[in-house]
């Protein structure tokens, strides 16, 4: 069974429906599932605070090698921390860091393309250059090349920033875009995760 972590921020029913999973809210729920999706919305500090009690269960889950997919802030939470809230701590299971676009953290909002860097079952059936829906002001960088599945480019202050938009390391997966808001290709990615 695939679990979708509900932290009480926003509606995650469409993610649950896409993977035909169950909503998970506590440690018991996390332990029971074979795969877990962490759809992050809000800001890094808020997420870190809300998920605090579940952190040991999440680390066990990942440590057991069970597939884990972080979406947007859920991706950021895989890292040690984020410039968004420097004193808050993430899971620290993925190498790299989370930084702001430009000086002010100019949001990257809308449909943008992903450029596939590595063949992977998570991206099976998804064409190079497909559009996904993004809403974020911070992005991940210094991720080792081996773990980058796809990249995306965002123009801010006339500077193009190329950042990893899909990453994978062992059984840990993360996407910067929102597959649950990306129409057919997004649903395809979620179904791919389900099949992994």
């Amino acid at each position: 069974m695939i679990g979708v972590l509900d932290l009480g921020i926003g509606n995650i029913e469409n993610v649950r429906r896409a993977v035909d999973g169950i909503i998970v809210k506590d440690s018991y729920g996390i332990e029971r599932t074979e795969k877990l999706i962490f759809p992050g919305v809000g800001n890094f500090g808020e997420i870190a605070e809300r998920v605090k009690e579940l952190k040991p269960s999440l680390l066990d889950f990942i440590g057991d090698g069970k597939p884990f997919l972080g979406i947007c802030l859920g991706l950021h939470y895989l890292f040690k921390g984020s410039e968004e809230q420097p004193e808050a701590r993430g899971l620290n299971v993925f190498p790299g860091k989370v930084v702001a676009f430009g000086k002010k953290g100019i949001p990257h909002i809308g449909w943008n393309q992903i450029f596939i860097r590595k063949e992977h079952p998570l991206l099976q059936g998804i064409e190079n250059g497909s559009y996904f829906y993004f809403v974020h002001s911070y992005y991940v960088k210094e991720v080792p090349d081996d773990y980058i599945l796809a990249e995306t480019e965002h123009l801010t202050e006339n500077i193009a920033t190329r950042f990893p938009s899909a990453v994978a390391m062992d059984s840990i997966y993360g996407v910067q875009f929102h597959p649950e808001k990306s129409g057919k290709v997004g649903l395809r990615l979620l179904k791919n995760f389900r099949r992994l």
Partner: protein
Amino acid sequence: MLARRIIAALDIKDGRVVKGVRFQNMRDAGDPVELAVKYEEEGVDEIVFLDITASYEKRSILINVVKRVADVLSIPFTVGGGIRSVEEVKALIKRGADKVFVNTAAVENPELIREIARVIGTANLVVAIDAKHNGSYWEVHTHGGRMARSIDALQWARRVQELGAGEILLTSMDTDGTKEGFDIPLLREVVKRVDIPIIASGGAGSPRHFYEAFKAGASAALAASIFHRGEYRIDEIKKYLKRKGVPVRLER
């Protein structure tokens, strides 16, 4: 590169989609969830729901619609119409709206923009501006276009950006309903003055009109009646735009 967006607008009254011209001759046009799903299948990039329910007491009906839409839709959607407080915004976002828009309440209390942006983030807040040229300037209107406010729309656009709007939904009351194209002069003037994305609205009647709006600097273009009446399919318009060199999202 970010795709230019095509947005379909649905007017909601008492939980149903209604069609009409400028709030008149309203007819029931179906279930909002069914229509939203149909547009998603046609490749629309976003849907905007405008609640025109008169009474505040019926707000719960809208909240319920938002929940039902969020449960099934896999593209982003925006909700607005009569929003007056941060509490209403929170309720809509919690049920699954991706963004909200404010209009009248923002004109009456500009600080509301700042307050909402603080709670849900700039990226999720759209400020709608209804403008009509009064002979000397584009004047801001509120209350669904019924009240002129003696405010210059170009200055107001700058102001809402400073206060924390993430996008502007710019409706020209001069072109709205004409099907003769978006208000390009107004659009150009606003684009020149702000950095945030502009959604052009009012006047779409053919694929060429969308092209003109994007060429004038709009990040997105919104239409209602040409989609409702089935005059043009969304994917048809997008294919046309792609041929003209506009970056659009086309599903295969």
